[in-house]
Structure formats: C-alpha cells, structure tokens
C-alpha cells in the first residue's frame, strides 16, 4: 500500500541542497533507479501486449475471410510444458487471495473489469465487500441476472462464455474437434469408466424399446428401468431415436465463473482428473495437443429426460482449482 501511495503522490524535484540532505548523489540515483525499473517493466509489458494485439488482429482478419486456423504445435507450446504451471497457478492463487484494502478494491475490480470486459453491475455485492480478487472472481450475480429459458424442449447453457465447438458425435470412436485438424476421443475426456452410451448401447436401447412396445403394449410396466446400466427407458420418448451431441464453451477471465445445470438432471458420478494447467485460450487450443485431456478437470455424469448427460469443467493456469461441492450452513 505504501509503495502504491508513494508512486501515486508526485515526487518533489531534486533540489540544489540535495547534497546537504546528507543523501548525496547516491540518494538521488537510488530514487531514480526504482522508477527506471518500473518504466522498463511497463514498456516491456506494453510491447508484449502490442505484439499480442497485432497477432489477434491478424487472426481476426483471417477468421473474417473464413480461413480457419489449423492445429499447429509451436515452440511456445513446447516451452509451456517446461514451466512449473501448477506452482505458478498456486502462487497466483495465493496472490489473488491476499486481502485488498477497502479503499483500493473498487479501483482493482474496475481495472479487472475494464481489462476483461466484465459487467460489474451484475455483481451481487458492492465492490467493497469482496475482500480479495479471488473472491471477486468467484462472485455470485444479482438475483434475476440469468433468467432460464422456459421452453421445456430446449437445453440451456450451464455457463457464460463463447461457443467454441458443437456438433453430433457419431460412430463408435466418437471424437470431439479441438480445432480444425485435431480431434480427441470423448472417452479420453470422460475417462475409461464413463457411463457414455456407445453405439452398441444405443442399438440395444432401441431394440429394447421396440420389443417392449410391440410385445407388451397392453402391459406397460413402469418398473422396467434398469439402474445397473446407462440404458434409460422412458416410454414418453421411446418413439424418438437419440443421438449424442457435444458443445464446448470457453470462459474468458472476465466471464461469470459459476457453473449451473443445463437441464433438470440427476448426477450419478463425479470424477476428478488431476493434470496439467495449460492456458486454454484460443492460441493454446491451436498449439497444444489433447489440451482438454491433459488439463486438470472435473467430470459430472448423469442422466436427464433425454438420456445421458456429462459436463466436463476443464481448469487452466489461472483456474487452478475447481470446487467439487460445498456444505452450506442451514
């Protein structure tokens, strides 16, 4: 706090009797040294930011021309593998959990909001009440900020973010496209013991429903639900065939970072995979192989009215921990 205040208050110009202050020239030099280092750091950060903005602009132009960037590992991605990202993330977590003085909090959070395009109006609490950046980052929103789509036949988004990929998973080796030119198996993301229905399961499910509808039309039994396997029998939709779909949503640092249920579903399995903490930004998806499989993640699996549902929350360097659950008082 004292260092910040010293920076913000104008320094008196060195005067002719600086020597008489007993500090001599060395005292004057040291007072110049600190601002010099700060200016150098700011200039370096500025240069890096300018380079980043230039790259982003170039990619944006390519995207507008409809040219999709392909998967291309590069030296920076390999260099990331050498960095102690878990330790860096842990330090970042400790730094952001430091208590900020009350008078400084609005300034810090507004700066964050300006940098990452956050909407501060939606925050549930006044800015002064978030003791640390970590607490502000995991903030709840005001009541009614996120109305849920009332259409009973729609699936809603569980998070705020940007849709990266979506589509239908077909065939036994269902693959999700990470970026053009590279895909990863969905079983690797969810884990070998996943409840994910395979094509064979789905066919058995169809035969099962058809045999029931033809042979026992008159004697329907509600008790024919078998919890021992992922086959879910629901007579109301037994006439419809089911496909498997996926959607990948990226949350940027300024987005609201709480995860909600995409539908009324029953979670059967929670699974945690410890792993790397690579960044998951757009550049990383194009340069790091199996990014979502190698990164730390939490998997929730269960069933909803239309069958199987799974949600994978993938961590990143600045998101080193994912809460699995919490006990609330009352």
């Amino acid at each position: 706090t004292s260092f910040t205040k010293k920076l913000l208050t104008p320094q008196p110009p060195p005067s002719i009797n600086a020597a008489t202050n007993g500090g001599g020239n060395s005292q004057g030099d040291s007072s110049y040294f600190l601002p010099g280092a700060t200016v150098a750091t700011i200039l370096m950060l500025g240069a890096l930011h300018a380079r980043r903005m230039y790259d982003d602009k170039k990619h944006e132009e390519m995207r507008e021309k409809g040219i999709e960037l392909e998967f291309q590992p590069d030296a920076k991605a390999s260099f990331l593998r050498l960095l102690p990202l878990r330790s860096i993330s842990r330090c970042w977590g400790q730094l952001t959990s430091m208590e900020i003085p009350v008078w400084l909090r609005p300034h810090v959070y507004r700066a964050w909001a300006r940098a990452f395009h956050s909407n501060l109006e939606e925050a549930a609490l006044p800015l002064e009440e978030y003791t640390s950046l970590k607490e502000f980052f995991a903030r709840a929103l005001k009541e009614g900020s996120r109305p849920i789509n009332a259409d009973p036949q729609c699936l809603v988004s569980p998070v705020d973010g940007t849709v990266l990929r979506f589509g239908e998973l077909k065939g036994a080796g269902a693959m999700i496209e990470q970026v053009k030119g590279f895909s990863y198996p969905v079983f690797s993301l969810l884990g070998a013991s996943s409840l994910l229905p395979t094509a064979a399961d789905i066919n058995v499910q169809e035969e099962h429903t058809e045999s029931i509808t033809t042979t026992e039309k008159s004697k329907k039994s509600w008790w024919r639900v078998s919890l021992a396997s992922p086959k879910v029998w629901d007579p109301t939709s037994s006439r419809a065939k089911r496909g498997l779909f996926y959607c990948v949503i990226y949350l940027n640092p300024g987005d609201y970072h709480r995860i909600h249920s995409p539908a009324d579903w029953n979670i059967l399995v929670r699974r945690h995979f410890s792993g790397h903490l690579y960044p998951v930004n757009e550049r990383a998806t194009r340069t790091i192989r199996n990014l979502y499989i190698e990164n730390e993640r939490v998997i929730l699996e269960g069933v909803w009215q239309e069958g199987f549902m799974a949600l994978a929350a993938v961590g990143a360097t600045n998101i080193g921990s994912i809460e699995l659950g919490a006990f609330n008082m009352g």
Binding site: Q153, C154, V163, F166, A240, A263
Partner: protein, 46 residues
C-alpha cells in the same frame, strides 16, 4: 477455463442408416457469446 457438455438428445426416428436428420438443433454458432440459461439448442417432438 472451458466447459465441455456431452448429452443425448432426440433425433428423428425416420433415419436412413448412416446419416441422421436431426430433431435436436443447436441454435448457436461458433464464436457466439452465450450466457447461463440461454438456449443452446432445442428439439421438436415429432
């Protein structure tokens, strides 16, 4: 951070083997901004 959602949803019964005509339709595009509670896609009972 990133969230990957994988789910089953109805597709049309009148399928020819090998291709599918979807009943469930996404109503987003790549690059779209989306918020909690907004529809990702919907299906129509046939």
């Amino acid at each position: 951070s990133t969230v990957v959602l994988i789910f089953q949803a109805p597709i049309s019964k009148l399928l020819q083997e090998g291709d599918s005509s979807q009943e469930f339709n996404f109503n987003v595009k790549c690059g779209d901004r989306i918020r909690v509670g907004e529809a990702l896609g919907r299906w129509h009972s046939s």
